[in-house]
């Protein structure tokens, strides 16, 4: 394995990892959800808020393939509309915590000293609490709404990125090319932007990709606890919570639950493949198994 020439590994790196069935499966599922999110308004399903109490809590049938909820709303329509809340907010969450965490982590790692101490002790403070509990406290203090849930999750999510980023920057800032850049007259922020960041961005992307599933779960979790989506917004977490109230109507919780499951698994499969593709330390193993 160690005898494989570096050039060959480099040329095969991306395609092989991406050609794995898991990656393709994940990509297809995710793509399908994105298409659904875009097409929701034009599919022409019954509106997710359209209520007809006469047909409340009906089991799946031809008219309502996923059944109806306690107000007679179509669970299929609500599940498909639910992706409009989950996907964009997950993107906002991951992008937000990636940007905040990376910035703070990079600054802490590069500058060191007091700045490092202050930023990382704040991060430790956040780490000291279980994620969902801290998010609950913040969301409860701000009042239930999806926007507040996103703020709460941003507050608990950035330290992960900051810690990884700091470690990467610490490793990179002693490298000769960085030192050379500084000696050529680059200021700390130019050096960070030009020499360090491009060399540490790949692992951060992998972390972000793997975090998508996590964030969707946390967001659904907050809604499940009544601290996220406000009725009547169709949101998977709150739909599962409604289903738990009506335990004999299994379809209420099952379909939104499956939706959460499929999106989270899709993101994780893609994230895994991305890691395999971008991480040189395990690229050899991947290559070996797929050859």
């Amino acid at each position: 394995m160690t005898a494989l020439p570096a050039v060959r590994r480099r040329s095969l790196r991306l395609p092989v990892a991406w050609r794995r069935p898991a990656a393709i499966g994940g990509a297809v599922v995710l793509l399908a959800w994105i298409v659904i999110a875009l097409l929701d308004p034009v599919i022409g399903l019954q509106g997710p808020l359209q209520r007809d109490v006469e047909v409340a809590l009906q089991a799946p049938s031809a008219a309502h393939p996923f059944g109806t909820d306690e107000l007679g709303r179509d669970v299929l329509a609500r599940t498909l509309w639910g992706v409009q809340a989950s996907l964009p907010l997950a993107v906002v969450l991951v992008a937000g915590s990636l940007v905040i965490g990376s910035l703070l982590g990079a600054v802490a790692g590069y500058l060191g000293g007091v700045v490092d101490e202050v930023i990382m002790r704040i991060a430790d403070l956040v780490f000291a609490f279980p994620t969902i509990i801290l998010a609950m406290v913040v969301a409860a203090a701000l009042g239930p709404s999806l926007a507040n849930a996103v703020v709460a999750l941003l507050i608990v999510s950035w330290p992960n990125y900051a810690r990884v980023m700091r470690a990467l920057v610490l490793g990179a800032r002693g490298q000769e090319y960085v030192v050379a850049g500084r000696l050529l007259g680059a200021g700390p922020f130019t050096s960070l932007r030009r020499d360090v960041l491009p060399n540490v961005s790949a692992p951060m992307l992998v972390l972000a990709m793997l975090d998508f599933g996590n964030q969707i779960l946390l967001l659904a979790g907050l809604s499940f606890l009544g601290l996220g989506a406000v009725p009547p917004t169709p949101e998977w977490g709150s739909m599962v919570a409604d289903g738990v109230e009506q335990f004999s109507s299994w379809w209420l919780a099952t379909f939104p639950g499956l939706a959460i499951f499929s999106v989270v698994v899709a993101f994780n499969l893609i994230g895994d493949s991305l890691r395999d593709a971008l991480d040189p330390r395990i690229a050899g193993a991947v290559q070996g198994s797929s050859l």
């Binding site: 808020l49 209520r51 109490v53 006469e54 409340a56 809590l57 306690e70 107000l71 239930p144 009544g226 406000v230 009725p231 009547p232 109230e245 009506q246 335990f247 004999s248 109507s249």
Partner: protein, 527 residues
Amino acid sequence: MNHLPARLTAMTATAAAVALIVTGCSSSSGGGQSTSSKTLVVDNAFDLKTSDPARAFELTGSIVDKAIYETALTFNGSDVTKPVPQLTTYTMSDDEKTITLTLNGKHVFSSGNPVTIDDIVWSYKRVQGIAGNPSFLLSNLSTGKPFAITKTSDTTMTITDTQPNPALPTILPNPSLGVLDSKTLEGHGGTTGKDDGAESYLNATSAGSGPYQLSSYNVSSKVVFKPNPKYVGDKPAYGRVVLQNVKGPSQKIDVQGGSAQLALNLNSQQVNGLASGSIKVVKTPSANVGYLWLNQNAGVSGGLTNQPDFVKGVRHAIDYKAIQTIAGSGSTQPGGIVPSQFLGSLESDENNTTDAAAAKSDLAKYQGRSITLSYPTDAALDGVSFADMAQSVQSDLEGAGVKVKLNGLPIATLLDSFRAGKLQAGLMYWGPDFPDPSDYLTFSPGEGLGLRAGWTKDMAPEVTKAKEAAIAAQGDARAAAYQAWQKAANADGAFVPLVQAAKYAVTNGVSGVTQNAIWTVDLATIE
């Protein structure tokens, strides 16, 4: 090792045989009451805290205390409009301030002590003295001044309020006013003040004259009753009653499988299609009334909820049938704020009817404007989610052109803001303190609940006049006076009564189950 010596085997067998004979004899000698050797198992989702009547004011506590204790007056079955004698008979004074109780035949506590007027006076004073949750029953609701309780002879006593109080007889049947054996309890730390120490005795032994007494008591798992041999009424059909703490879904399995004969906490979805063979579903409207309030205070109303045409429009926009469907079969729409089973309830009111055309014209001025509708997220109206009802109202009002922002709050937070009169509109419910319409006068302008909705006396003089007429009415005129008050409130008011959900009692192989708004079920009448 595998073979016991023959002699040892023989000895063991003999010992076993002797033991069997002895236990057989003792059980046959103890099982003299052949009619009452049956066991009744009742499933209930416990909210039990204590079985001491002076401290208990929970649903489960009332079931327990109803079985153990007798009260001065009581109700027959589910009819809570007419109090009937139990330990005493009663007469009301002409000014309706004083009720006189006269001992009604002979009643005996489980200890063998006879029930005396002293016991009743002692028990009532104990409720007042301990100042626990039920103590408000024996004090004036508006001033908080305790009723004067006086022994007037060996067979009579009086209870006197400072103001006319025609509800007095309907208050006394509450199981929290169960009469205790004062002589026994005084020997176990019982007093009529805050220093009372009889709670633990009452939670282990009980000291009542009712059909049952405690056999074992566990506040979180089950309460077991055995008959009170000294009970003077009809002997209960069951020799052992187990009231056990079981959650709704498991109750369904228990009653279907026959391991429980009665389940008390199934919701409308769970009872759907359950009745078959020996399984029967008894439906009774709950006495809890779910209502919508619209704040009349100009500062809180946002210029909407205090406008008479807006209020009228909302009353007509709501699809009451849809809310009943959500609440489940057997639920009803009360005509006024007084629940349908109480004296003075209103069957229906034209102001509270669904009329989309009228709603559109009343709300024409308010198209596109928005109100915030608050509701409790962690409390339900007899199992019916407020969120579901709120979404139904939201969709009705949006159909009539008014936007509704839903604001689900934990009930503690909601009550804080509601009591401070800060919420523009919302959904809540009112459970009766005692089954008399006077308990609902708080929904009048200038009264407790009225003020929560920013409704002051000067805003609705008609309603205030009708309220005063209702207070002044006596005897048979009361019902009509309370109906007139509700009609006035519906024409003007801040409150829209929405729904009384149904309560379901599911039985398997037993009869005689009648639901009562005060004590849920009387275990002694079940056969």
